[in-house]
């Protein structure tokens, strides 16, 4: 069994730390001990076992391992370029499974020619390394580069042909699942290849950090990453649900329950008794959530509603409203664990006739005039919106009225702070009437908000 080069080990640990994996000195010591003591166990397995402390970090470990340890193979990849280009010529004008897919992209082998029989070991040969280098150095964003590479290998035609075949019933469910797995594999491979080329080109781990699911914009997460965020939200919420309310914090067992002591004392014939404490209950004010569900905001709303759903036990009353240019009540969805109803409601804009352009002024006016009287003065209001008002009047007086009535107003904005002062953005107008405005763009932002607000 090959031993691990010390320099490669240091490079790996450094890279993992850069991408937010908590690796302690003790972990390093343990890893070194095991690498020396058990030379028959593969290094990767030892390091994965000892350096990964959370299941969600396994994916990023694989990527870093490929870049930091297996990157030596990139030379082989370059060598394969000639062979790839040669193969590419042979695949011209092929046709895919759904009767589609004629022709191919400009960069490498066409997936439509391969069908669903993929050689997973040589998938990297699909993309010529020089093409990756060229795209990475063009200054395009990561997502753009991935899309271009996918188009180059006819990925979109390929998946469409399978979608079509499945819809027509010519593809069985088993074949469909196999295809789904292949699809996910290719996507992951290409994302890794692009990341590798960006890391090499920038000579830094920053491209990797930017693609960590915690720091990626919520709107650009893959299905797998979305599930990671949802799982994390559930965990954060559960942690909060176990946190006692401030009223009982003076003594960690709560206050003495005289009634229960007497009751138990009688059971013991007045002889012996235990002190009984009242159960701590979480602080439970009312929560009002107001979400902009226009197209640009939809993906962010889904995660906030998921958070609110997980946190419902902490509040006595929760009201959720969606809006674009008018408001509607969707509180019923928060009581259902299945979020498909919410997704449908966001997608369909509640089946309301709407221009599709947000009008914050009109929405706050409607809220202040029709709904505010039903809201308690102890309520916390959370607004999720980008503040883009499409040059409509901001009518800040209504938002001020709302802000005066409720205990706290938190605004969560998915845009970067510098975008808040763009001409059609009214964030700066409303900001003074908010208890705090948070940037809520990534899972990491959401995590901070969970800690601060709830």
């Amino acid at each position: 069994m090959e031993t691990m080069d010390g320099w490669v080990f240091i490079r790996l640990v450094h890279a993992l730390r850069q991408v937010s994996l908590p690796i302690s000195s003790q972990d390093i010591l343990d890893a070194q001990t095991c690498l020396v003591r058990y030379p028959d166990i593969p290094c990767k397995q030892i390091l994965k076992s000892l350096l990964i402390h959370r299941p969600q970090d396994a994916g990023i470990f694989e990527t870093v391992w490929k870049i930091a340890v297996e990157n030596r193979e990139s030379t082989e990849l370059k060598d394969s370029l000639d062979a790839t280009l040669k193969d590419k010529e042979e695949n011209r004008d092929s046709q895919g499974i759904g009767g589609q897919g004629a022709g191919r992209g400009s960069g490498g082998i066409s997936l439509t020619a391969i069908g669903d029989i993929l050689d997973h070991c040589h998938i990297s040969k699909l993309i010529p390394f020089s093409r990756l280098e060229e795209l990475a150095s063009s200054g395009a964003e990561y997502e753009e580069v991935v899309k271009t590479v996918l188009a180059d290998i006819d990925y979109y035609t390929w998946i469409n042909s399978f979608d079509l075949a499945y819809q027509r019933g010519t593809l069985s469910e088993d074949e469909w699942y196999t295809h789904q797995n292949n699809r996910a594999f290719i996507l992951r491979e290409i994302q890794q290849q692009v990341l590798m080329s960006q890391v090499t080109l920038e000579n830094s781990w920053k491209p990797l950090v930017r693609q960590h699911w915690l720091f990626k914009p919520l709107s650009s997460l893959s299905e797998e990453e979305k599930e990671l965020v949802r799982t994390s939200i559930r965990k954060w919420a559960r942690k909060l649900a176990l946190r006692p309310g401030s009223r009982w914090k003076s003594y960690n067992k709560g206050t003495i329950d005289i009634g229960k002591i007497v009751q138990q004392s009688v059971q013991w014939e007045g002889g012996l008794f235990h002190l009984c404490y009242r159960r701590r209950i979480p602080r439970a004010p009312e929560l009002v959530v107001l979400c902009d569900v226009s197209n640009s905001m939809a993906s962010f709303v889904e995660f906030l509603i998921h958070l609110v759903t997980c946190l419902r036990a902490r509040f006595r009353k929760i009201r959720v409203f969606f809006f674009i240019d008018s408001v509607w009540d969707v509180s019923e969805f928060v009581w259902d664990d299945d979020l498909s109803g919410v997704k449908q409601e966001i997608k369909s804009w509640g089946h309301k006739a709407s221009s599709g352009f947000s009008d914050y002024g009109a929405v706050f006016k409607e809220l202040a005039e029709n709904i505010l009287r039903e809201v308690s003065s102890r309520a916390i209001l959370i607004v999720l919106g980008d503040g883009k008002n499409n040059y409509r009047p901001a009518q800040p007086e209504y938002f001020a009225r709302i802000s005066e009535k409720v205990r706290k107003v938190f605004w969560l904005n998915p845009l970067e702070e510098m975008e808040w002062s763009e001409p059609d953005n009214v964030m700066k107008v409303y900001q003074n009437n908010c208890s705090k405005v948070y940037r809520c763009r990534t899972a990491s932002d959401l995590q901070r908000i969970v800690k601060d607000v709830f």
């Binding site: 302690s24 058990y38 469910e173």
Partner: protein, 292 residues
């Protein structure tokens, strides 16, 4: 002491637990480094069973602490035997107070709960802290000393250190996140649903009375179900129950057409059962078409 992950996997197999290569390596390293092992994964993948099998394989007594919301030190670590203390006081009315005062807080009046029992045990034990995610954060913080130093502190007695270094296994269903401090002290295993081949082996070893055809059919069927977007996916134990249920109904192979009424053994939510019933019709048509 096991000499390799393969050796450990072999020992566990003898005890009726089939472990994957990666999990076996991680568990082996945790044992080699004498570190606690945190096993996470969805319900029913065999986390607790792994701890039980390990205890048998290592020939250690199992001490189990089941966690729940509100679990505190008096139920997990120790409590004073107040009744016995009072009796001692009544019997010793004439004795010197200073002597009794010291005596009242001796080990004789200590009620050992699972954690203390594991620390004080003269023979090697395996301590299973089950479903830690159900306990409070305070309890999690309290565990840090035990996990790192294998010792506990009792104010009246001082620090008690373990004599025989128990193997510590913690399990979690992932319902809440743990602190970095706790994770850092543990070696982490994530168990997921077994592969088709492994599930066939598990089913064959747990229900040898089943025909090979039925075992294979059931495992393939369950693997297919696990790809559906259901609220709760079937666990390994539910696969075993389902296969036994079909066997009780004298089935020798699995036909999509006559599964109605048996699906509730596999799925626990009516919504999921309804979803699967709908899918079964499609699968049945596909199966018929492929036979033709």
């Amino acid at each position: 002491m096991k000499t390799s992950p393969l050796d450990l996997a072999h020992e566990l197999k003898k005890e009726g637990y089939l472990i994957g290569q990666e999990a076996a390596t991680t568990l082996f390293l945790a044992l080699a480094l004498e570190k606690p092992c945190l096993i996470e994964g969805p319900a029913g993948v065999g986390k607790t069973q792994l701890a039980l099998a390990l205890a048998r394989a290592e020939k250690r007594r199992l001490i189990r602490l089941q966690c729940y919301e509100g679990l505190d030190i008096s139920k997990a670590l120790y409590d004073w035997n107040y009744a016995k203390q009072l009796l001692r006081l009544q019997l010793a009315k004439t004795e010197d107070w200073d002597e009794i005062k010291f005596d009242l807080y001796s080990e004789e009046f200590l009620l050992s709960r699972p954690l203390l029992e594991a620390i004080l045990s003269p023979e090697p034990v395996l301590l299973l802290i089950d479903e830690l995610d159900k306990s409070d954060e305070e309890f999690e913080s309290f565990l840090l000393e035990l996990l790192a130093e294998q010792q506990v502190s009792i104010p009246e007695l001082g620090t008690l250190t373990s004599k025989t270094k128990p193997i510590v296994i913690l399990t979690s269903n992932n319902s809440r996140d743990f602190s970095d401090a706790l994770r850092r002290r543990c070696i982490h295993i994530y168990l997921t649903y077994p592969s088709l081949e492994r599930e066939i082996s598990i089913l064959s070893s747990h229900a040898p009375e089943l025909s090979r055809g039925l075992t294979k059919d059931v495992c393939e069927f369950v693997a297919k179900i696990r790809k559906l977007p259901l609220q709760k996916l079937p666990s390994v134990s539910e696969t075993i129950d389902f296969a036994r249920a079909l066997d009780a109904l004298q089935k020798v192979e699995l036909n999509y057409g006559d599964l109605m009424g048996t699906l509730s053994v596999l799925l626990k939510y009516p919504k999921d059962v309804a979803k699967l019933e709908e899918r079964l019709k499609k699968w049945e048509t596909e199966a018929l078409r492929s036979r033709e």
